[in-house]
């Protein structure tokens, strides 16, 4: 199997609530240009381009076709990927497969979101809106017995249920969610490309009101305008054109059932179970030759729209035993200078341009491995293996990408 690595990452200069100074393709172009600059490459060096975002957020269909020239995609093979919240990593994995197939050698992955231009409810509730309105039209009571998914507003309602179940099964307390939130926001404060960059104490988090117990405002991610671009290359190209590389050693994904399940029967699967994450992680580790992730994985970038999810994903991805994540948190193991730095970037929890969020996870791992982190969140210890995780759909899609400082295949 062909070895493929990430050789360059480009971000928009900032990830913020509203980019009022540029339109959609102008914003995307900033990250594309940054990726070229950081790699010292030109569009002539790119063989193909993959592109992803959640298009209903901006109300533009097939936006890659409008953005063609801004992505420097003219006359090139071009494809659009869209998998909800995990679009970023699916788009990166598509770029990976463009190279791994043998058809292309250097491929660019472009991901982004400009949520300030749309109604966020389009994304968060819009997924259930047609079905919901259908039921309302037939007199169904959505806010009573069957209202789990909608009470508390869109995805937060379902996430609250997930958090409740997680706390119950793991033995973690709501204070652990506050602690994780504080840790990640403080990490984000060191990251110039993060959105929410205010150093946040546990007390600060606890002062925020509840949305749906146990989740507070201080536990939830922002919506951000921003773009993330990565350039991938095959092994022989890496030797020729790159001065640093982070190898993509394991890729996997798994799809389970939509969180609200069957509207007549109600919830089928406990959203804290996340069996798909276990399956995807196991596949990615096996592909990467990782036999004991607890020992071999040096850092994790996890897709956490909500602070409790960092703890949950650590367990589901096999980085610690079930019920142990909060124990690791308590002893400082998840800190940037700990044994398993988790979301040194601040995670989705601090920066969330949704189409890009799941690609920021592997790009942050890549930058850590290449020791090219700008800002103060470079992990001090050497990173040999990193795991990045993406999540999307109605709590149903998981993508996992394992990166390393050495290639594992070929």
């Amino acid at each position: 199997m062909r070895n493929v690595g990430i050789i360059s990452v480009g971000y928009t200069p900032v990830f913020v609530s509203k980019r009022k100074d540029v339109n959609i393709p102008e914003m995307i172009n900033e990250a594309v240009d940054a990726a070229f600059r950081n790699a010292n490459l030109t569009p002539d060096d790119i063989d193909a381009i993959t592109f992803g975002n959640m298009q209903t957020f901006e109300g533009v269909n097939l936006p890659h076709l409008w953005a063609t020239e801004y992505c420097k995609a003219l006359d090139k093979p071009y494809i659009r990927i869209s998998t909800g919240g995990t679009t970023g990593m699916s788009t990166l994995q598509a770029a990976y497969y463009h190279v791994a197939s043998g058809m292309h050698d250097v491929v660019m992955a472009v991901t982004w979101e400009k949520q300030s231009e749309g109604d966020s409810q389009v994304g968060l509730s819009g997924i259930v809106m047609p079905e919901a309105m259908t039921m309302v039209q037939h007199g169904m009571d959505l806010f009573g017995g069957k209202g789990m998914g909608f009470g508390g507003g869109g995805s937060t309602g379902a996430a609250a249920y997930q958090a409740m179940s997680y706390l119950h099964h793991s033995g973690a307390s709501p204070e652990h969610i506050d602690k994780m939130a504080s840790l990640e926001r403080s990490n984000a404060a060191l990251n110039p490309y993060a959105h929410l960059r205010k150093k946040t104490t546990v007390e600060d988090v606890q002062a925020t009101p509840f949305i749906a117990w146990p989740l507070r405002f201080g536990h939830t991610c922002p919506t951000s305008d921003g773009a993330t671009v990565a350039i991938l290359a095959s092994e022989d190209k890496v030797e020729k054109i790159a001065d640093a590389v982070a190898w993509i050693n394991g890729v996997a994904c798994c799809t389970t059932d939509p969180a609200t399940g069957n509207f007549i029967e109600g919830q089928i699967t406990d959203p804290a179970e996340q069996e798909g994450a276990k399956i995807a992680a196991a596949k990615a580790y096996a592909m990467a030759g990782i036999k004991d992730p607890k020992k071999e994985i040096d850092m994790a970038e996890l897709y956490n729209g909500f602070a409790h999810q960092s703890l949950m994903w650590l367990e589901k991805l096999g980085l610690c035993d079930e019920g142990q994540a909060h124990v690791m948190l308590d002893r400082g193991a998840l800190n940037i200078d700990g044994e398993l730095p988790t979301n040194a970037s601040g995670g989705v929890f601090s920066t969330n341009a949704i189409g890009a969020s799941a690609m920021n996870r592997p790009t942050e791992c890549a930058l850590q491995i290449m020791r090219k982190i700008e800002g103060g969140h470079q992990i001090p210890k050497k990173i040999k293996n990193a795991v990045s995780h993406g999540w999307g759909g109605m709590f149903q899609y998981v993508t996992v990408t394992v990166l390393g400082d050495e290639p594992r295949h070929g």
Binding site: W66, A73, G126, C254, D257, G392
Partner: protein
């Protein structure tokens, strides 16, 4: 590079599917598994293709995964024409990570969402959507006019092409629009939309889905004794800005075809291709696309078609299925073109069979006036 084949295909097209989308997908894909003699557990990776705006909610595939058997499986989603889903699935297999793939595209443009509106949302909101001048039909008409003007072709040529496609569609059990014995006069009698575009030169609103199973060499031979090999793939894209494009030709289709032919080792497509299924949404797009692919000399295809050159029994059969005029299902269309080529190459095309077909070309498009194009070369010969 690893050899990939299409093992089997299934499609359903309708002017009104009459069942919920999930039912349509389940019936189609389960039927496909049963025909091949496998279950969903035999599929290594799933690549779905559908469109948020058409389904009416974000993350188009959330309710599509379970009906096609992707529950607890490796699954991803392309949001483009179905041909891109097929080529991406092939790349996933070529990597060596998987041995089988299920590709499925679907939409319900006849009964769920207006296809012209799906296109309207592709207009950039900063200019074209506000100006309200460009839409799928007005842009198609400008493209038709550009072709007619540049090459001296006539509206009758376009009507003749549409009539041929309607006749072919009459032999296609999956056609939504067809007329046995259709003539150019029938098309002429249909209403002008934007001149020179007439109603019967346009694709019909279509509900439907198309699914296919791809497999690597060894697995393909286990699953079928008639694998159809993917010999070459290519795609390319032009500028969004219509005012900067030559609408009378298709630069990106030409590049896509060159890439696909290079990969397939074809040097003389006009001679080496036995049958072509191009994803023309309008009659005038057929000559533009077939010329770009190299099946006809530049500027000649519309007039040459008058002499029967593109007929099923002619020297260069184009769209024996009836093509996009018979049925055009957003997100599935490119897959349908591949599926119709597979039918030809497996000898299953019934009355529309091109005799002795060994090598086929399929094409799919996206965007206004085919801004983005993909070409796939298929063959009975493994090579």
């Amino acid at each position: 590079m690893r050899k990939i084949a299409i093992v089997a295909q299934a499609q359903i097209m309708s002017g009104s599917i009459g069942v919920p989308r999930e039912r349509m997908l389940f019936d189609l894909v389960k039927g496909l598994y049963d025909n091949v003699g496998i279950t969903r557990h035999d599929i290594g990776t799933f690549v779905l293709c559908s469109n948020d705006f058409e389904v009416g909610h974000t993350i188009a595939n959330v309710f599509e995964d379970t009906p096609v058997g992707a529950y607890m499986k490796d699954e991803t989603h392309v949001e483009a024409d179905g041909m891109w889903a097929a080529s991406y699935a092939a790349m996933r297999l070529m990597s060596g990570n998987y041995d089988t793939a299920l590709v499925v595209g679907n939409s319900a443009g006849a009964t769920t969402f207006r296809p012209y509106l799906v296109m309207d949302y592709q207009l950039n909101p900063t200019y074209d959507r506000q100006m309200g001048l460009l839409n799928e039909l007005s842009t198609a008409a400008l493209q038709a006019k550009a072709y007619l003007d540049k090459y001296g072709a006539s509206e009758d040529d376009l009507n003749e092409i549409a009539a041929r496609l309607l006749r072919n569609a009459a032999m296609n059990p999956n056609a939504v629009q067809s007329k046995a014995g259709a003539t150019a006069g029938d098309v002429l009698a249909s209403e002008y939309l934007y001149e020179p575009l007439r109603q019967l030169q346009c694709y019909p609103r279509t509900d439907g889905a198309c699914a296919m199973i791809l497999a690597s060499e060894e697995r393909a031979k286990e699953l079928t004794d008639k694998p159809v090999w993917i010999k070459g793939m290519g795609n390319s894209v032009e500028s969004y800005y219509l005012g900067e494009r030559d609408l009378a030709s298709s630069r990106s289709t030409k590049m896509a075809a060159e890439r696909a032919f290079k990969m397939a080792g074809l040097s003389d497509p006009a001679k080496q291709v036995d049958v072509a299924e191009v994803g023309a949404k309008f009659a005038h797009q057929e000559p533009i696309l077939t010329e770009a692919i190299g099946l006809f000399a530049e500027g000649s295809a519309a007039k040459v078609a008058q002499s029967g050159a593109a007929d099923i029994g002619g020297p260069m059969p184009v769209c024996p299925s009836g093509g996009g005029i018979g049925a055009y299902c957003f997100s599935a269309a490119g897959l349908v073109r591949i599926a119709d080529c597979v039918r030809q190459l497996q000898g299953l095309a019934g009355d529309a069979q091109v005799s002795g077909a060994k090598t086929a070309v399929a094409h799919g498009q996206d965007g206004f006036c085919a801004q983005h194009n993909a070409v796939m070369v298929l063959s009975t010969e493994e090579g």
